[in-house]
């Protein structure tokens, strides 16, 4: 008799608890490219992986660095080349394995291996050593005071799990490779992967053994992530209540979202610059004068007014204002000047213009395809006949990165908040472990040396001098045509309390319901 009563009672209590579960339905234009935490250094990929994996340090919703899997860190007083990290104790991976220093050594080495896109962030590292089970030393080639800034997206994987599943190295996305970790995860993060269907739907549930359970609000029990490429469909999903939060409210719909009852808009300047890259080795764009002409043929103000509806900050440098090295002077963009641009074109011997293809993503940046279309019109004014090839980012990035494109769009966020990150990926000569996103062919040995020297320069004013010297070179070479810095607009249900993070990385353990 007792048993008969208990079982239905248990079942009732179970249904009640799942009814109070707080699900967040989250949407944005594009999906993460892979779940392998080191295979792609890309915003939406990191944003998804951040729910599942943890790094040693993290940025909170305001962008400040706070502890994560490391509880304390400092450079050794007697040897500034060594950073010592004390790891959090009692942390378990989703499969139950214990997190310890072996995993840190493994993960950092994995992130420096072939196929990794995180290499440039770790290029100053000489060796990673486990001191004991919960202390790790990172030795750099020279003293690198800014090392910790590079670790906020550096996710920790379980060594044992990686061995069993043969994912000891990241897969090379540009080569079309995949591995077990592309679709399967085992992190220490607040959420565990339940199911994933690429470009359709990814379901995550709260990790019951999460180490941060008592540190953060942790009110979300389930995340349903749906990429919705069409901006009209995405905003319709928010308006109709089909999703709770979208990370990219289309600029034309800001008024509509903010004036709708039950919805609110959260806005912040984003740490991301949008620009166009050019081939500096072959074809007409190898001529500096052509690149300079193209730069002043871009009417940045009209892109801001019409395409972005005021939601952007035009710039003359490929660096958001958050970054160390940024100055008002660098940020000044050249005046739009058609006559001068045409004069430069004829000086370069291209008074009749030329044909070029512009490769562009259509699901990555705010109004990416519309910006490229506008650029097509602006280039036509100086005789350049541009064919626009807009594709989803999963196809666009390998083309842009592989150097197949002579003219391409890219956006760059700076998680380290330091110029070195931009230089090491976008300016350094393309080599095995540096310059992976510099397909422009720009190569300057002197600049390369200066970039490497930043990693071991402890005198900050000297370091900043070098940074400004490198920027001067970049500005002179003009291999990139800066467009603007993005402005973030997250739209969400009024019942949600969630700060916009300047890196556009929502960390759902911080979300609160009210």
């Amino acid at each position: 008799m007792f048993k008969k009563l208990v079982i239905p009672a248990l079942m009732i209590s179970f249904t009640i608890s799942s009814a109070t579960a707080e699900t967040v339905r989250w949407a944005r234009a594009g999906d993460g490219i892979t779940m392998d935490p080191h295979a792609q250094n890309e915003g939406p990929t990191h944003a998804l992986n951040h729910q599942i994996y943890d790094s040693l340090l993290q940025r909170d919703m305001s962008g400040a660095i706070i502890p994560s899997l490391a509880t304390a860190w400092s450079a050794l007083p007697d040897n500034p080349k060594i950073w010592r990290f004390n790891l959090r104790k009692g942390v378990k991976f989703h499969n139950g394995a214990t997190f310890d220093s072996e995993d840190v050594v493994f993960s950092l080495n994995r992130a420096m291996a072939d196929g990794s896109e995180m290499k440039e962030l770790l290029s100053s590292i000489k060796e990673v050593r486990a001191v004991d089970s919960h202390v790790v030393d990172i030795e750099t080639n020279g003293a690198n005071p800014l090392l910790i800034n590079n670790l906020t997206n550096m996710f920790m994987m379980d060594k044992g799990w990686s061995e069993v599943n043969d994912v000891m190295t990241p897969h090379d996305v540009a080569k079309g490779e995949t591995n077990f970790a592309t679709m399967n995860t085992n992190g220490t993060g607040a959420f565990m992967l339940v199911s994933r269907s690429v470009d359709e739907k990814t379901v995550l549930k709260a990790n019951p053994d999460y180490w941060g359970k008592n540190l953060y609000p942790n009110q979300v029990t389930e995340i349903i992530y749906t990429p919705i490429q069409s901006s009209a469909t995405r905003v319709a999903a928010l308006l109709s209540g089909e999703v709770d939060i979208i990370q990219d409210v289309p600029v034309q719909d800001l008024g509509r979202v903010s004036s709708t009852d039950g919805l609110k808009l959260a806005t912040a300047a984003q740490n991301r610059v949008i620009f166009l890259g050019l081939n500096t080795v072959e074809g007409p764009t190898a001529e500096l004068k052509v690149r300079q002409a193209m730069n002043i043929a871009i009417n940045r103000e009209s892109i801001k007014k019409v395409v972005m509806r005021g939601q952007s900050d035009p710039t003359g440098v490929i660096m958001p204002p958050f970054v160390n090295g940024w100055t008002e002077k660098l940020n000044e963009y050249p005046a739009y000047n058609l006559d001068k641009a045409k004069a430069l074109m004829s000086e370069a011997g291209y008074s009749n213009g030329f044909d070029i293809v512009l490769n562009c993503p259509n699901d990555r940046y705010i109004n990416d395809e519309a910006i490229c279309q506008a650029a097509v019109g602006m280039m036509a004014q100086i005789g350049i006949n541009v064919t626009l090839d807009a594709k989803p980012k999963a196809q666009h990035f390998p083309i842009a990165k592989g150097g197949e494109a002579d003219f391409y769009m890219l956006g760059w966020g700076v998680p380290t908040f330091d110029s070195h990150y931009i230089f090491n990926y976008l300016v350094h000569t393309q080599t095995d472990d540096r310059g992976s996103w510099n397909p422009t062919g720009y190569s300057n040995a002197e600049v390369d040396t200066m970039i490497v020297s930043l990693e071991s320069e402890t005198d900050l004013s000297k370091r900043n001098d070098t940074i400004s010297k490198i920027w001067a070179n970049v500005q002179d070479a003009q291999m990139y045509l800066p467009i603007h810095n993005q402005v973030l607009n997250w739209g969400m249900r009024s019942g949600i309390e969630f700060d916009v993070q300047p890196e556009d990385q929502p960390h759902f353990q911080f979300l609160k319901f009210n």
């Binding site: 509509r256 007014k305 019109g377 626009l388 807009a390």
Partner: protein, 285 residues
């Protein structure tokens, strides 16, 4: 009356498309003539920056919608016409062979048709489109995008032609004049083309008009899905896709005018096709 009206609308649209370069006040396919600042100008209202006035307003890139619709119509009609011609030639040939020869050839062709009928034609068109684009080298993709569109829509619409032609051929080939032609020792090819074909053409014409409307809608659908013509040379479907993004923000004209044009075009062709069917059907007279 309806027939006259629809014929009038249809011919007007065709003439507008043919003479677009004389009638359109702007040249929207020439990017050098565009001014981004003209973007999102409402119909018949001066633009706040440039002061220019546009009959149907402008789209997000500052293209005059009226001119863009006229030029876009050219693409839609050209793709539709070519796709129907392709489907018709393919369908008639396969139908004739199937009906006239019978046997295993008939079985193969008709089962092939059955299989294709189980897929929605837009799916077949997307499949062909994807494969064709994959096979082309990247530098040719944009030049070839319209050809690829024509082939993919054409290949997805041949079945109704083949079935009808086969049916009519089966009826015709038992008739006395065909028997006499056989007795005279004519070759199969000339019996098919010179005796059967002229007698089965009227249903083919009716199907052609209806397929024409379908092909135009298929092109619009593909472009709406973003797999058709490039956005720098928008057809009606591309314009509708662009316009869709601005419905919530109140810029209705970008969607409405291309959509109305597509509606008028498809409806008038269909009504005209109905009328043609009645005219060519001896049983009604």
């Amino acid at each position: 009356m309806l027939a006259v009206g629809s014929f009038f609308v249809f011919t007007t649209i065709i003439l507008l498309a043919i003479f677009a370069n004389y009638l359109a006040p702007h040249t929207p396919f020439d990017p050098s003539t565009l001014n981004l600042m003209n973007g999102f100008t409402p119909p018949m209202e001066p633009n706040e920056f440039t002061g220019q006035v546009f009959l149907m307003g402008t789209d997000d890139q500052g293209r005059d919608l009226f001119s863009t619709i006229l030029y876009g119509l050219r693409i839609s009609l050209f793709v539709g016409l070519m796709a129907v011609l392709l489907a018709m030639v393919l369908g008639v040939i396969l139908g004739l062979i199937s009906g006239f020869s019978g046997g295993w050839l008939d079985i193969i062709i008709m089962r092939l048709a059955d299989i294709q009928m189980t897929f929605p034609s837009i799916l077949v068109a997307m499949l062909v489109y994807g494969v064709a684009r994959g096979m082309l080298p990247p530098e040719l993709r944009y030049e070839m995008s319209i050809t690829v569109l024509i082939i993919s829509i054409g290949l997805s619409e041949w079945v109704p032609f083949a079935r009808t032609v086969r049916g009519s051929t089966l009826v015709e080939k038992e008739k006395d004049y065909i028997t006499s032609a056989r007795m005279l020792g004519l070759k199969r090819f000339s019996i098919m083309t010179r005796h059967i074909l002229p007698n089965i053409l009227s249903p083919v014409l009716v199907i052609a008009t209806i397929t024409f409307a379908l092909a135009i809608i298929a092109e619009a659908t593909l472009s709406f899905l973003g797999v058709g013509v490039p956005t720098t040379k928008p057809s009606l479907g591309t314009l509708i896709r662009i316009g869709q993004d601005f419905l919530f923000s109140g810029e209705w004209w970008i969607l409405l005018f291309p959509a109305l044009t597509l509606l008028a075009l498809a409806l008038s062709i269909n009504l005209f096709g109905d009328w043609l069917r009645d005219m060519l059907n001896p049983k009604i007279h």
